[in-house]
């Protein structure tokens, strides 16, 4: 069965994971391709996690943290952002299209945003896949 691309989303416990729960409670659909992995903070995401996901056949990876200034752990999301810039370099070196990785901020109440960014991202990965990206 081919259900299209596999997208791994690292969601921080306090904001984006909560937003995903709220999207569920509100029965707002988004592509089944999204596989959420719960992490305490977006700052816990190591660049190697993303590399690992691609090694295992993921087609795209998202890192979704709290908005700047509202990280439960004060500044974990800033660190995630700094690491994300570094990660892009690593991906380029490994020959992975950097467009296949996305970092975004999703607050706990932003279930709509979660649905929107994940839907758009899955669409984009689909395009990259069919367009030979």
């Amino acid at each position: 069965m081919n259900n299209g691309p596999v997208v791994v989303a690292f969601c921080c416990n306090y904001c984006s994971y909560e937003a995903a729960d709220r999207a569920g409670s509100a029965k707002k659909n988004y592509p089944e391709n999204l596989r959420i992995i719960r992490v305490p903070c977006s700052g816990r995401v190591e660049p190697e996690f993303i590399v690992k996901a691609f090694e295992n056949g993921a087609d795209g990876v998202m890192i979704l943290g709290c908005h700047p200034g509202s990280c439960h752990f004060k500044t974990g999301n800033h660190k995630a952002y700094r690491r994300y810039l570094l990660l892009k370099e690593i991906l380029r070196a490994a020959g992975i299209d950097e467009e296949r990785v996305k970092l975004d901020w999703v607050g706990a109440s932003e279930d709509d945003k979660l649905v929107r960014v994940s839907t758009e991202f899955v669409e984009k990965i689909r395009e990259l896949d069919t367009g030979g990206g």
Partner: protein
């Protein structure tokens, strides 16, 4: 790993009364995964939990595929613990909120469910039992700032006589701003009459230890176990011996303007900031005292109680406590004052019976003013917000002026009137004699008298009066930055202390165990300060209970000493100061660590493990959800 071969992993699948099973084909899930599965109609009902507890002892590790862990974590934890299984050997898959409820395609949802469960199965193979710890917590509390908020908090906390309350006050006396006022809005209650009893009370409490002239310099630790470094300036007067007889003050040859009285009155080098302050002992202004320069000892000679001590010295000491309550108050907008132009805090002293004029409203030349303009909103534009209490205070002034000088013309120049509830009563009364001019702009000048220019609906207006009072806006104390830095706290967009949640945790700061009340949080009246103070004290009392220990979450980060190269990379990254460098290695204080894992992700030697979110566990989950 031999450990793995002994694993017996069980998977409990929840139908959730059809909420999951209608969207996810659970039979297909059962076939697709390589583990014992048990499907139940509803895991969280008493029947479901009963089933789980009957069967669970068969397993070494358990996956629950049900609703969001945020809702069900505690329930499963209880069942698991009752069955003597370590709760960290379980994992919850969010099949409802993050799978069944967000899909309309059963086939795709089933495939997703299988992958999510595979992720959990791979991950759980790397789970290790974690030990839950409970640590001793210090019940004592440090209250910083002895204004009305700090004093009322200290009094509430001191009701529990087995608890010590340390009150740290920067000034030589307690009572803060409120003790400098004569009357209080909205009911024009006499401020000293209202406040003297609680201030006396707090001084008399055997379990309240007051340090005046003192400030916090450094903080270590977190909820349950703080260590505070306090510095205390010398007072040169022994508060325990002094009875406040004033003999020393009478003989002191030095005369200086009293800053506490906005220089409207003089004081000596040994002085009381105001008459009747508590503790009732003067303080020596060492810079201006003649002891060092001229060996003047007049005060020493005059004191029959042997209370003056020139050997007193600045000292530093440590205090241990389990919680800290910050109540250092707000500041007021620095308006341009003049001989006839008063800021509102200065005007309070003109109204005060213990003030420089004994409460008489007089001009610098000693004459009584025939007209006074009360100009609202001074600094509002610059501050960018309404300070909410000043309109009511302006009504208080109008009332007090009218009572003392019934023929004095009173003008209010205002932008908006903010006078809710009880405060509008005061307005109703004042509006009978005072005149109100609405204007968004004003200019106040001293030119022999005072000229107030403003613009109302009819254009530019000019008002000549004898005196003007500018209602200074409320702003964060300039020192708040230092306090925020010491306690590692955030400030909000207006520069006041930020609370952890404005609605639900309005007196808790962004650091565990640090509470706040009163003007430090923003503009507030006395009653609001007291509400917050008592709420904050209540938070402390309910958190630090005698004989009970504090739970330490085992999901924290730890350093493998063998692997650590001592590069110190983790130290500045930790937002809680939990990572420290000791004996050429980095270590993490488990009581301070909050488990964010930022250090683990950054450690170049991979020496840090974020427990329960280890790299191995996350790698395994990635494999499971992707493959």
């Amino acid at each position: 790993m031999s450990y793995m071969s002994e694993q017996r992993i069980g998977v409990y699948l929840c139908e959730c009364g059809g909420e999951i099973s209608n969207k996810v084909n659970l039979e297909k899930v059962t076939d697709a995964i390589d583990a014992r599965t048990i499907t139940l109609p509803m895991l969280c009902t008493p029947e479901g939990l009963e089933e789980i507890s009957k069967g669970i002892s068969e397993f070494t590790h358990v996956v629950f595929a049900a609703c969001t862990p945020k809702r069900i974590e505690k329930t499963f934890e209880d069942v698991v613990k009752k069955a003597n299984l370590n709760p960290y050997l379980t994992h919850i898959v969010n099949l409802r909120e993050q799978c069944a409820w967000v899909s309309e395609d059963k086939e795709k949802a089933t495939d997703k469910a299988i992958h999510l469960i595979k992720g959990a199965l791979r991950r759980i193979a790397y789970h290790e039992p974690l030990e839950e710890k409970y640590i001793d917590a210090n019940p004592d509390v440090v209250v910083v700032g002895g204004g009305v908020a700090g004093v009322l908090a200290a009094l509430t906390l001191s009701e529990d006589t087995n608890r010590r309350v340390y009150l740290i006050e920067k000034n030589p006396h307690i009572g803060g701003k409120t003790i400098t006022y004569e009357d209080l809005t909205p009911n024009l209650t006499c401020a000293p009459c209202l406040l003297a009893p609680p201030l006396q009370d707090v001084l008399g409490k055997p379990n309240v230890i007051l340090y005046t002239n003192a400030e916090v310099e450094e903080v270590k630790g977190t909820l349950g176990n703080f260590l505070l470094r306090i510095s205390q300036k010398a007072r040169y007067v022994d508060v325990d011996k002094c009875i406040g007889c004033n003999a020393c003050i009478e003989v002191c040859p030095v005369n200086l303007p009293n800053d506490f009285e906005y220089r409207m009155k003089e004081r000596k080098a040994i002085y009381f900031p105001y008459a009747g302050v508590l503790p009732n002992a003067p303080v020596i202004d060492w810079q201006n005292c003649l002891y060092e320069k001229e060996r003047c000892q007049k005060c020493v000679e005059s004191c029959v109680f042997d209370a003056i001590n020139f050997d007193d010295m600045q000292r530093e000491f440590d205090l241990k406590c389990g919680s800290v309550l910050l109540s250092t108050g707000f500041s007021t907008y620095p308006v341009r004052e003049g001989g006839r132009i008063y800021s509102s805090p200065k005007f309070e002293r003109l109204l005060a019976k213990n003030g420089p004029t004994e409460g008489e409203i007089v001009l610098p030349d000693g004459n009584k003013p025939k007209s006074i303009a009360i100009v609202h909103c001074a600094g509002r534009e610059e501050l960018g917000y309404c300070s909410k209490i000043c309109c009511s205070v302006a009504m208080k002034y109008s009332h007090m002026i009218h009572e003392q000088l019934p023929d004095c013309e009173i003008h209010h120049i205002y932008t908006d009137l903010v006078l809710p509830e009880m405060h509008s009563k005061l307005y109703n009364e004042v509006s009978k004699f005072a005149r109100f001019h609405r204007s968004s702009k004003f200019d106040v000048r001293e030119d022999g008298g005072v000229t107030v220019e403003y613009t109302d609906e009819e254009g530019n207006q000019k008002l000549n009066v004898d005196m003007a009072v500018l209602m200074s806006g409320i702003m964060p104390s300039p020192e708040l930055k230092k306090i925020a830095e010491i306690f590692d706290l955030k400030l909000n967009e207006y520069g006041f202390l930020e609370v952890s949640d404005m609605k639900l945790s309005p007196v808790e700061t962004t650091s565990a165990g640090v509470l706040a009340a009163g003007g430090i949080l923003g503009a507030c009246s006395v009653e609001e300060s007291v509400q917050q103070a008592v709420a904050a004290a209540g938070k402390v009392l309910s958190k630090l209970r005698h004989g009970e220990k504090l739970f330490v979450d085992p999901k924290v980060c730890t350093v493998d000493e063998e692997k650590c190269s001592g590069c110190k990379f983790c130290i500045p990254l930790c937002p809680y100061g939990a990572a420290v460098y000791e004996e050429e290695k980095c270590t993490i204080d488990e009581t301070l660590c909050q488990g964010c894992g930022v250090c683990a992700s950054a450690c170049p030697a991979k020496a840090i493990e974020a427990r329960h979110y280890t790299t191995e566990q996350i790698y395994a989950e990635i494999e499971g959800v992707t493959k």
